[in-house]
Subunit: 661 residues, 2 copies
């Protein structure tokens, strides 16, 4: 049962697309104070789930989270904001309810931070809709919520293949070298990503012809080997005379404006840019059509970046900073002056004040950016998605975005942002998966091996053993860090086997993905969502249920030779070195220590369930669905969902294959 409560004059976020009657009763579960903040007491044993892409555990208690889309490359334990805003929570314990705070600006969730047994939700302004959902259990509440926010985006099947990326591939030769090295190492591969260096001076929808003299041929050569090129598109449009996107945007008034009506100037990779007004339907339509410049060259996948939007600096703040720095440096800079100096420089990037300075044109109405900040990235991906549906109506295009708001799940996936080569970021990624599924995001995954900082061989191995279960499975790293293509490591053979296991699993993972997308189910769930009454299960933070068949419990600690696992029921442990070289063992319900060497993948098949495995192909196109073998409990069956992996509407080619053990 979903009830909608309206406060003040909310901006329409388009998160909810189903009609829900407004309820005029008092809001249940929360008290509201004079400022329009919402309060509820939390008993000691209540758990708070949700908030999508956020830090800390599956249980969000004990921290303060701020929904304010932000280019944060650290993902520290004290982070308050990441790239997305997913304001949906479930409180479970003595009470059971879901709450969605549909608000496009800054909103704070203090979940037992200030006061251990209280949650407060504080929107910056008292203009929002709150949806309260009650249901039989957490999964039911999620299903209801997903039913009003619309079906999740389904990418092409090839997007489930392994992808290699790096900010640092400078030219065509780098790309060809990566493809060849993967091929020589006999490691399956479906995609190679183009980061910012493929563009001419970081201008969207351009190609640097010195570095990529014939992108169309490159894309075609790659595709002949089953590899898709996936270029990045950034939010900011470079200010440069003669650059068509810039000139058209200025001419048509498609960029965000200053208070005085001039086009707002921020700075990102190319230096000075304007920001397309993605909240303006005409501008969204115009920008979306530009993707055709690349699809014409054979490109069928994109990742949208920097769309919080990230702003390295604005010119007025930079000038003020330089002026102030100069003044400070005239005297003896002690503690106060030094911290002011370094703080001002560090504070240029993503400065909250800059987001108050520009405005959107929403159907003729001028809206201050900070009031709708969290919708920007969503509407960039929407722009691409809606245009591409017209440009190439017969096939799916891969999209995923860094920034998002609930609703963006209908237009693309997300990657979990600029993480680091830290062991703790394996767990951080994993803990976000169910919260993202709750919010409708199911095409998700983290930069495997870590984006920032130097990776290590054992970290990469363990990360692969986790990521090979996530829909988006991409190895990505930052310029200047240790190179981490798999063929660079001495354990390349073990890594190859892990990628082959991924390919053996793709039909299953894709099937579970489809079920999740079509039926509003969660592909990844905390144990507690299936085992409410199990007092051990409800506190497990490092294992997840995958579909109805599997439980994953990756090793995410350096030098560990195994890990502890809690089984909420009898399960079959699978210890796998190769897709066809594995050992199984039935383990009883309860706590276990499970050994797991670096070259072993360990996961669990649930009681009376069975998992289909396929002969690993060198890419998704070559998967042979006839090559299935089943592993799991006897006398069990699995219904595999399958479509052509191409048509925008999966129902057109959908089939259900029953596999019996």
């Amino acid at each position: 049962m979903i009830k909608k409560y309206v406060f003040g004059n909310p901006f329409p976020t388009d998160a909810v697309i189903a009609h829900v009657d407004v309820c005029n009763d008092p809001l249940p579960f929360f008290e509201i104070n004079g400022d329009g903040d919402f309060f509820t007491c939390l008993s000691d044993n209540e758990i708070v789930y949700g908030l999508g892409e956020q830090i800390r555990g599956i249980n969000k208690r004990g921290w303060e989270y701020v929904s304010w889309n932000y280019d944060n490359p650290h993902h520290h334990e004290d982070t308050r904001s990441l790239y997305g805003s997913h304001n949906f929570i479930i409180v479970s314990g003595e009470r059971l309810f879901g709450a969605f705070f549909d608000y496009a600006g800054r909103i704070t969730f203090d979940i037992g931070y200030t006061n251990k047994n209280q949650m407060s939700v504080r929107p910056e302004k008292p203009d929002l809709c709150v949806y309260i959902i009650e249901g039989a259990d957490e999964k039911d509440i999620v299903r209801q919520f997903r039913s009003i926010i619309g079906k999740s985006y389904i990418p092409p099947l090839w997007a489930f293949g392994y992808g290699q990326s790096r900010w640092g591939y400078k030219d065509e030769n780098d790309i060809r070298e990566v493809a060849e090295n993967y091929s020589s190492a006999d490691i399956p591969l479906d995609s190679i990503y183009l980061d910012i260096d493929y563009m001419e001076r970081y201008k969207d929808f351009t190609v640097d012809i010195n570095r990529f003299p014939d992108l169309e041929k490159l894309a075609s050569d790659m595709k002949n080997n089953g590899v898709h090129l996936v270029p990045i598109i950034d939010a900011g449009v470079k200010i440069e005379e003669g650059y068509d996107v810039y000139e058209e945007g200025v001419e048509n008034g498609y960029f965000c404006k200053n208070a005085d009506g001039e086009d707002f100037v921020g700075a990102v990779w190319p230096g000075r840019v304007h920001f397309p007004d993605f909240l303006n339907p005409q501008a969204r339509n115009w920008f979306g059509k530009k993707y055709e410049t690349l699809t014409k060259l054979g490109i069928d996948g994109f990742w949208n970046d920097m769309n919080e939007p990230a702003i390295f600096y604005t010119e007025d703040r930079l000038e003020e900073t330089l002026r102030h720095i100069h003044k400070l440096s005239q005297g003896n800079m002690g503690i106060n002056e030094y911290f002011t100096f370094t703080g001002m420089v560090a504070g240029l990037n993503g400065n909250a004040g800059d987001y108050h300075k520009f405005f959107h044109n929403v159907n003729g109405q001028t809206i201050r950016h900070s009031d709708v900040h969290n919708l920007y990235g969503m509407n960039m991906t929407r722009s691409a998605f809606e245009a591409l549906r017209k440009i190439q109506p017969n096939k799916r295009t891969l999209f995923f975005s860094r920034s998002s708001y609930i609703g963006a799940h209908r237009y693309g996936g997300i990657w979990q942002g600029d993480n680091k080569s830290w062991w703790s970021h394996i767990l951080q990624s994993m803990q976000q998966l169910p919260a993202l599924n709750m919010a409708g995001f199911i095409f998700i995954g983290a930069d495997t091996g870590g984006f920032g900082c130097d990776t290590t061989e054992d970290l990469m191995l363990r990360w692969l053993q986790y990521s090979l279960f996530t829909p988006l499975f991409r190895n990505h790293s930052a310029d200047g860090t240790r190179k981490q293509e798999l063929y660079r490591f001495s354990s390349v053979n073990t890594m190859k086997e892990m990628i082959k296991i991924r390919y053996a699993l793709i039909p299953y993972l894709y099937s579970e993905f489809l079920k999740s997308a079509l039926d509003d189910e969660m592909m990844f769930r905390p144990l507690s969502f299936d085992f409410h009454c199990d007092k051990e299960a409800i506190n497990v933070e490092d294992q997840l249920l995958l579909g109805d068949q599997l439980m994953i419990a990756p090793v995410y600690k350096q030098n560990a030779k195994g890990r502890y696992v809690y089984l909420p029921e009898e399960m079959m442990l699978v210890r796998m070195k190769k897709y066809d070289d594995y050992y199984t063992e039935i383990l009883d319900k309860g706590h276990h220590y499970v050994h797991c060497e670096l070259d072993e993948l360990v996961f669990f098949i649930r009681k009376d369930k069975v998992l289909p495995l396929y002969a690993p192909a060198k890419n998704t196109e070559e998967i042979d669905y006839a090559s299935v073998t089943l592993v799991g409990y006897p006398q069990s069956s699995y219904t595999l969902l399958k479509d052509d992996g191409i048509c925008p509407d999966p129902e057109e080619s959908l089939c259900r294959i029953t596999l019996e053990n």
Copy 2:
């Protein structure tokens, strides 16, 4: 058996004080390449212990560590350098040996980072001594190593009490308020720390009389309530006309010099400072005597900070940076210019280049700082220690330092630096304890609750439950972060009980500390040091043996209701809510999941051992040794070591009390 090998022309670090004959045989275990780098292969199951204050696990495999004392306030997983350099490792597995690389400059330990199965040790210059130690087991190797580096510093007994600190106590009223609030809340307290704000314009050995009009009276009033004031002393001496320390230093040539012989200028809290030349025995002697200005006022404890030395900036680099920034800001700052700009500003602090610019006068010889960098902090604490032994020969003074090198363990303790209010930093602190003990540092502890970032109530509770076992037990936090004195939390009563448990344990902890100091034993050990042949025990990274009686296994994860524990032998679990309200249970050898609510302390008593507990006093002075009760196995006994806690030589008042259960 210890063998010493000399390469090139090493600078005498004073780490080793016993005579060890030089061995002219080839160095065992390592290959040496043409650059003077040391290489050894690591088999899959070999473990590398050591490196003292460093990141990552007890087993150091899988990362690259750089000994280069550094003011690093992040302690990230990708950190390479922290505040201390403790170049002692033990390789254990198919081989068993210890190795101490006695080198005062930058030295890199690549322990399976570049190549998973190789360790390389790379000193910046090929001038060093290497000590190779073979022995019966790890503990024997440590004992041998500690026998040549000299006995560890023993603080006064009151230093084992609970201490409250915060960078942010601005004046006498703040201090009195803290003392009163602790007293009102009935929480034991032995010390309050004075951070930089007690000084006049951050000048060492001055007191700001506006804020602290009568420090002598304040110290005396505090001491009448059993509370010691512990002021901070920084390495840099402010450049200010009329300031005696500055003027004497200049006059006598006691500061570090530029290449041209002028006093080197860096900048820290007070802005422009000179750095005392602590490697010059006369300067060390002079600076040490200055502590008397504070001991005269009744001060009997100090913490030495910023002695890596931290340098916020140097004037020439600042000028160059400003010039370059100005140039960059003239054009359109894109990616390269922007990252250069922000990188230069961020790179001012602790810039490696600055440490090449100044020189020491070591008995008439001019030594470039970067060649002896890692000795600076050690010699600052030595300066204080040696002077105070003369100034007040009849009592111990509390010293601990941020920066250190092996050898500094003879002069003071260390705190584990500017950590954060992160759950992961509980484990990080814990994993350093045995490595620090290996290097002789036993008066150690982390800023409880976390220094940087905002703490939470549950984090503080769990942190107390760990820290109450560490010799140094101090709650410290940074200006601008959430205040974290215990009386501010709703769980103040539980926190009080945890502090009382600490006081109940102090006679035991002090006894174990004395044994460790007098007999060169490790107070904290990995399980593997006592259970070599146990294949599960050798991989345990989050439990420690404490003395011969206890095993600690703190809960260090948010919202956890318990944790997994491996028992290498039968042990007695103690679940304690109050020092006199606890429950015990014998658990078998093996893996266990142990429940532990937020208000419970869980620890283990080893088989056939017993732990003495005492009635908690309101401070260490009031501990009643007659109030002992014993908890543990029947028919067991414990020998308690005890002295007066004051005399520099503990042997003078040492007694051994046998307690029988």
